[in-house]
Structures are given as structure tokens and as C-alpha cells.
């Protein structure tokens, strides 16, 4: 499960300088790599919606950033995402999905199932990636769509890509 390295390489290639995140098991290794990278400022958040603001501020100051979060975090961002569309900020987010398959925790299902519809409702373009070997090229395409195509865009990393969480059962 080294697909996270392909995302990291795509961030480097796209000259991403700020990585905002709420700690997440699916993104854990990518986040660790960003923290270890002296050319990237890692910004841990108390809530995902702060990340929308941080990325807007980064762009105002001439830097590119991305937001790493879990599907449950999308629900925390919806009003703030309006900022990206109103001001036409480029926006790229990488979302590890819950509530899709082999979900042990029923509390993750509503927002997991609501992630893509709510992003679409807020005019954020979405792509889903299921195969580990496709993550790299999809990550590059996501960053291109944001920073060359000047769009708001999300890459949804299917739950197949992350280890099953079973709470010891």
C-alpha cells in the first residue's frame, strides 16, 4: 500500500508549499512525509473547514496548498467551500473514504455516502480512484485541474485503498 508515495511525489512536482490536514489513519504516512519535508509547511487543523481558509490565504500570498482529510471532514467544510467558488480560488483536496465497503462503524456511513453528492452540490469536481496503481496519475490530474485548470476539485480515495478498521473485532 505505497500509493501515498505517488501522491507525495505529485505534490512535489506541482510545487505544493502548504499541506493542511486533520490527522487521519488513511493519510497518516503521507502526512508524516509532508511533516518531514522542509519545503512544505504542514498545518494541522482543529477542523477541516479551517483548511479551506488556509488554502485561500496561501493562494492570496502566491503559494499552492492542498487539504488532506477523511470523508467525514467534508461535512465540516461545506459552507466554507463556497469561498473557493465565489472567489474562484483553485482548490485541491485528497479525501480518504469511509462508509463505502467493509465499514465496521455505522456512524461513518451517512457522511461517507454523502461526500460526493455534497461536494457536487457545492460545484467541486470529483473523481474516485479505487486501484492503487491509478492513484499517482489521478493525483497529478487533480493538481493539474486545480492549478492549471483553475477549478475546485477533489480526489476520493476509495475505502478499498485503506486497511480495514475493525476495532479488534
Amino acid at each position: 500500500m505505497d500509493w501515498w508515495k505517488d501522491i507525495y511525489l505529485s505534490l512535489k512536482e506541482a510545487n505544493i508549499k502548504q499541506v493542511a490536514y486533520v490527522p487521519d489513519a488513511g493519510h497518516a504516512k503521507l502526512i508524516e512525509a509532508c511533516i518531514a519535508d522542509n519545503d512544505i509547511i504542514s498545518v494541522p487543523l482543529t477542523s477541516e473547514e479551517e483548511g479551506i481558509g488556509v488554502l485561500a490565504g496561501a493562494w492570496l500570498g502566491g503559494e499552492r496548498g492542498v487539504l488532506l482529510m477523511q470523508s467525514s471532514g467534508v461535512g465540516n467544510c461545506i459552507n466554507m467551500i463556497g469561498l473557493m467558488r465565489t472567489c474562484r480560488f483553485p482548490f485541491a483536496t485528497f479525501i480518504t473514504m469511509r462508509g463505502q465497503w467493509h465499514e465496521f462503524n455505522p456512524w461513518q456511513v451517512p457522511m461517507g455516502q454523502g461526500t460526493q453528492p455534497t461536494l457536487s452540490a457545492m460545484d467541486v469536481l470529483t473523481e474516485v480512484v479505487e486501484n492503487p496503481e491509478d492513484v499517482g496519475k489521478q493525483a497529478k490530474a487533480t493538481l493539474h485541474r486545480a492549478f492549471t485548470g483553475m477549478q475546485a476539485t477533489a480526489l476520493l480515495l476509495h475505502q478499498k485503498l485503506v486497511p480495514l478498521k475493525t476495532f479488534g473485532k
Binding site: T46, E50, G53, V54, A58, L60, G61, N79, L83
Partner: protein, 203 residues
């Protein structure tokens, strides 16, 4: 709810505070102003391309200021927002404290009211103290300003001391005329980037 509030009698007037900040700050600082009255205050003081007024995104002023401060470490970044907007994004103070941006100043114009919705009381009219919350989050310099004398001292510190700084400025709860900045977000973003980054700011 015990009502002990007297914000309508606070001596500092928000429009005069904004004018003083602009006068002392000169032309080099960059401003993010939070949803509502701070926009009208700073527009009344004189709209600039280096001002980014928020017509929405409530709770987002401090995070935007943080991302900007990290991207532009040589500029002083001023976030001017209200108590209601700050309370909605209060967790962002903990996020700021982790980054310790030396160039970031947060000014909370605290009239203890939600101005845009009819001057209803915020939590600061009751028990909440935003300067204490900020200190608890780990913001290195926090203060509360209540008088003209305190303001005169504070405004100098805002532009000279090492950040992050959060200053709560208790201002009179008063209805004032709207003085509106441009509202097209794409225009506001692009004019800001061009002012800060030059022609390469326009993509």
C-alpha cells in the same frame, strides 16, 4: 442568562479604531477583514487593493490570514474581525499557535453583538473572553484594549512586536451606516494578488 452588558457605553468607536490602524500601519501591511462590520470599518477608512474583505466564509478570517502569513513572511498580516466571526472559528486560534507566525496580528473588534443580524448578544456579552481563550490556545501575545490610551499603545505594538498577536478591542455597540467594498470575490482575489505579487499574480 444574566444581562450585565454595557457595550453601548464603551468609549472606543470602531470606525475611529480602523482609521487609526490604517494611519499607523502605513502602506505595507496586508489586511483580511472578517464578515460584517470590520469590512465596512476598513472600507470607510479607505479601500485598498491590499485589503481582502470577506462577505461570507464566517469563521474563516483567521485561517485565511494564517495561510497568507505563511506564504508572505516578509509582510505584516492583519486580520481584523468581529467577536461573532471569531467565535465561529475559535479553534483556528489553536491552529495559529502551532505555526507561530511572527508576522500575524489578529484584531477582534468586540462589540459583544452580532451586528449584521440585528445586534443580538454574542457569548462575549456573557462569559466568554476571547483574549483568555487565545492565551489558552497558546497565542504568545494577547491583550484587551478598552480606552483610547490603551489603543494608542496597542496600535504601535500591532505593527512592531513579534507575532502572533491577538488583541481584543472592546468597541461601542452602535448601528452605523454601511460603507461597502467591492463584493465580487474573484475581483477581490485578483486585485489582491496583483498588488502583492505583481503581474504574475494574475493567471
Amino acid at each position: 442568562m444574566n444581562k450585565t452588558n454595557s457595550a453601548s457605553e464603551y468609549p472606543l468607536r470602531r470606525r475611529e479604531v480602523a482609521k487609526k490602524i490604517v494611519d499607523v500601519g502605513g502602506n505595507d501591511f496586508l489586511l483580511v477583514s472578517g464578515l460584517g462590520s470590520p469590512n465596512w470599518d476598513f472600507t470607510a477608512a479607505g479601500d485598498r487593493d491590499t485589503f481582502f474583505p470577506l462577505w461570507g466564509a464566517m469563521g474563516g478570517a483567521v485561517p485565511i490570514g494564517l495561510g497568507l502569513a505563511l506564504a508572505q513572511p516578509k509582510h505584516r498580516i492583519v486580520v481584523a474581525t468581529g467577536d461573532g466571526e471569531m467565535l465561529m472559528g475559535i479553534g483556528s486560534l489553536a491552529t495559529v499557535a502551532i505555526q507561530e507566525p511572527k508576522n500575524l496580528v489578529i484584531l477582534v473588534f468586540d462589540n459583544e453583538r452580532y451586528g449584521e443580524t440585528g445586534m443580538q448578544e454574542t457569548a462575549t456579552a456573557h462569559k466568554a473572553d476571547i483574549a483568555t481563550i487565545a492565551a489558552g490556545c497558546g497565542i504568545s501575545q494577547t491583550m484587551t484594549v478598552r480606552t483610547k490610551e490603551e489603543l494608542d499603545l496597542n496600535v504601535v505594538r500591532v505593527f512592531e512586536d513579534q507575532g502572533p498577536i491577538l488583541s481584543v478591542i472592546k468597541v461601542k455597540a452602535e448601528p452605523l451606516d454601511f460603507v461597502l467594498p467591492p463584493k465580487d470575490g474573484a475581483y477581490l482575489k485578483d486585485r489582491f494578488r496583483k498588488a502583492v505579487l505583481g503581474d504574475k499574480g494574475i493567471v
